[in-house]
């Protein structure tokens, strides 16, 4: 492990060890390669990099704070917990870091239309937001089931001028929305840019989205050094597709003393089968353009997932996470719906910060981990999104009508 240069991954074909790659229909091979070339070019282009930085600062509101949750840390009686406040970004989550980057790229490539898939609606809102700002036509694919569960985000997207298309195929959730977005793209490749919301999909998406999200880890690293004089002992982030986690982890991968925990959704429990934890309880396979760990049955069919948080309700995971698991650099674990819900309440009551249910999975793991560490240990938790969007879910679970 010591002699891995993480900058060498992915390879030219988009592989992280056996994972990643480009498993797509021939019609998309040309357009995806055109995207790779454009991304490789603009990632080195000072004008593009400066524009991205400027937008992150003045439109998103970066840098996001690294906040020492003193009261919660004291209550847990172990490590000092620092929260990376991605919930304070414009649109309320880390997703916008990536949609800004891809929308800027779409403009440079001369595309006039953007499409995206969304589950909880956070990526859809972040995409509709940047499309509004740049004057791009925007179509969001969303499973019919998710549209029903996330009515407010659907309305937000429509207010922003996006067309929200209900997806009626398959399980009518995030994976089916991604299938439908791919079908749109294969038909409209000439003028359309597909803004994938996580570190999955065919190369270059996993690497490109990681690079756009790595601002999280770069800031956290600097902030931790500035505030505490040293690097953190451990990082914790929730993992659905894994974009907020890879964004935090990646700038620390070479710092061997920094432990890393990726927290998947254990749903009703890993042994019930009702969960969304491919790294903890799935197997490698191929879906949505990459090889990675998947939730699948013995015949290779993708199975339905369950999580209290729609943003983690996805049967796959970014290929870099699959590789980091296999080489042992990151430990992947899982937290149940009940655990996440408890952490949602704890942070709200103890720190006055209402976390997204996705991020609550990471907080629940920190809740277990912190007491096992020394008082001077430093734990950085990615607070990837704010919880306002989840108030109806939480209230319904507690039998309260709002």
């Amino acid at each position: 492990m010591t002699d891995i240069d993480y900058a060498d991954f992915p390879d030219a074909g988009g592989h992280f060890g056996p994972y990643g790659g480009r498993f797509i229909a021939e019609t998309l091979m040309g357009p995806v390669d055109e995207l790779r070339q454009a991304y490789e070019h603009y990632a080195q282009d000072p004008g593009f990099v400066a524009e991205f930085d400027r937008d992150l600062r003045h439109y998103v509101g970066r840098p996001s704070p690294l906040y020492h949750a003193e009261r919660w840390s004291r209550e847990l009686g172990g490590a000092q917990i620092y929260l990376k406040r991605e919930d304070l970004n414009h649109t309320g989550a880390h997703k916008v870091n990536n949609t800004i980057g891809q929308a800027l790229l779409a403009r440079r490539m001369g595309k006039r239309r953007v499409i995206a898939e969304t589950g909880a609606g956070q990526h859809g809102v972040a995409t509709a937001t940047v499309a509004a700002r740049f004057g791009l036509e925007c179509v969001i694919y969303m499973g019919e089931e998710d549209i029903r569960r996330q009515a407010i985000n659907v309305y937000r997207m429509r207010l922003l001028g996006a067309e929200v298309v209900p997806v009626l195929s398959g399980s009518r959730t995030l994976k089916d929305a991604m299938n439908e977005a791919m079908r749109d793209w294969v038909t409209t490749v000439d003028d359309t840019f597909y803004i994938i919301g996580t570190v999955a999909g065919p190369h270059p998406y996993p690497a490109m989205v990681r690079d756009f999200q790595a601002i999280i880890g770069r800031e956290a690293r600097e902030q931790c050094l500035a505030q505490t004089g040293r690097l953190p002992d451990a990082l914790v982030a929730c993992v659905g597709g894994g974009s907020n986690a890879i964004g935090l982890f990646h700038p620390f991968l070479a710092d061997e003393q920094v432990a890393m925990y990726g927290v998947e959704a254990a749903g009703e429990g890993l042994d019930t089968g009702h969960h969304a934890a491919p790294l903890c309880a799935g197997k490698p396979g191929v879906l949505h353009g990459n090889r990675t760990y998947l939730m699948e049955d013995g015949d290779g069919q993708i199975i339905e997932t369950h999580s209290i948080s729609a943003g983690l309700d996805y049967p796959g995971v970014g290929p870099e996470h699959a590789w980091l698991k296999d080489i042992g650099r990151v430990q992947y674990t899982a937290v149940t719906d009940a655990g996440a819900l408890a952490a949602f309440h704890t942070l709200t009551r103890v720190e006055g910060i209402m976390p997204a249910l996705e991020s609550s999975h990471a907080l629940a793991w920190a809740d277990k981990l912190a007491p096992t560490l020394d008082h001077d240990a430093i734990l950085v938790v990615n607070l990837s999104g704010r919880g306002d969007k989840d108030i109806h879910t939480v209230a319904a679970l507690e039998g309260i009508e709002v």
Binding site: V189, G289, E296
Partner: protein
């Protein structure tokens, strides 16, 4: 020589274009498939494409998505599809059979186990929609050893270099996707398609079939004038869907359209 090569050689001598139907195995229920395959052969088809149902058929339009859902409601697996081919072979050892599907069921079964089982069952070729040659090294070697033809798609977005890359790995025939899009949605422009087929022929001696968007006798005949094969999928799958509740009528319903196509193609 494989059954596919032999069939195209024979057609070339006769000056005819191959008619290739696509059906999803197990749609609308498993018992329909093998009798339907025999009925289609009797109606004059030259090669059969059998779709392996998958939960997430990203390159397919609504017709074939629904066909996959109907088959999966009966838990039709890749192994069962191979059993169907084997059963078909009990009575027909001549008509080539090609499987068409997505990579994950093959990944889960294992490349070596799948290749061996497919060869034993009498599968002649495999189209894996989401497996480009760049990712196919290992399975191409196994297919070669088992004399199974790896059939690849070419698309309107494939440039000269990709045409060369794909033709260098391909066997059996080239499947030219006539439109940008998913199966069964848009009508292809036959002049444009003919131009592309000519470009492909300049690179390879393999027969070139045209599919995605051929729905009736007239469009089949139009493409038969220049293609080596005409592939019809969604139009047949829609016929099957119409009779999903009374499957006994499916073979005659499906072969009616195929006979019209066959006739129009032979009169081209």
């Amino acid at each position: 020589m494989s059954r596919i090569g032999a069939r195209f050689d024979a057609l070339r001598v006769e000056g005819r274009t191959a008619l290739i139907p696509f059906i999803t195995a197990g749609d609308p229920e498993p018992a329909v498939t093998v009798p339907l395959m025999h009925a289609m052969v009797e109606a004059g088809v030259d090669l059969i494409e059998l779709g392996v149902p998958f939960s997430d058929p990203m390159a397919d339009g609504p017709a074939i998505q629904l066909a996959d859902e109907r088959a999966l409601a009966h838990h039709v697996s890749l192994r069962q599809v191979l059993e169907m081919v084997q059963q078909f072979r009990d009575q027909d050892d001549i008509t080539p059979v090609v499987l068409m599907g997505y990579l994950n069921p093959i990944e889960v079964m294992g490349y070596a186990a799948f290749t061996q089982a497919a060869a034993v069952a009498g599968v002649d070729g495999v189209i894996t929609v989401d497996l480009p040659p760049e990712e196919a090294g290992e399975i191409l070697r196994l297919f070669r050893e088992a004399a199974i033809d790896p059939i690849f798609l070419l698309a309107p977005t494939s440039n000269r270099q990709r045409i060369e890359t794909i033709c260098a790995s391909a066997g059996g025939f080239i499947y030219y996707v006539s439109i940008k899009g998913v199966t069964g949605i848009n009508q292809p422009d036959s002049t444009e398609v003919q131009k592309r087929v000519t470009q492909i022929r300049a690179v390879t001696d393999l027969p070139v079939g045209v599919g995605f968007g051929i729905r009736d006798a007239a469009s089949a005949a139009r493409f038969a004038r220049f293609a080596d094969a005409v592939i019809v999928g969604s139009a047949l799958v829609n016929k099957i869907a119409e009779l999903a509740d009374c499957p006994a009528g499916i073979p005659s319903h499906v072969t009616g359209l195929l006979r019209e196509m066959r006739q129009a193609m032979d009169e081209k």
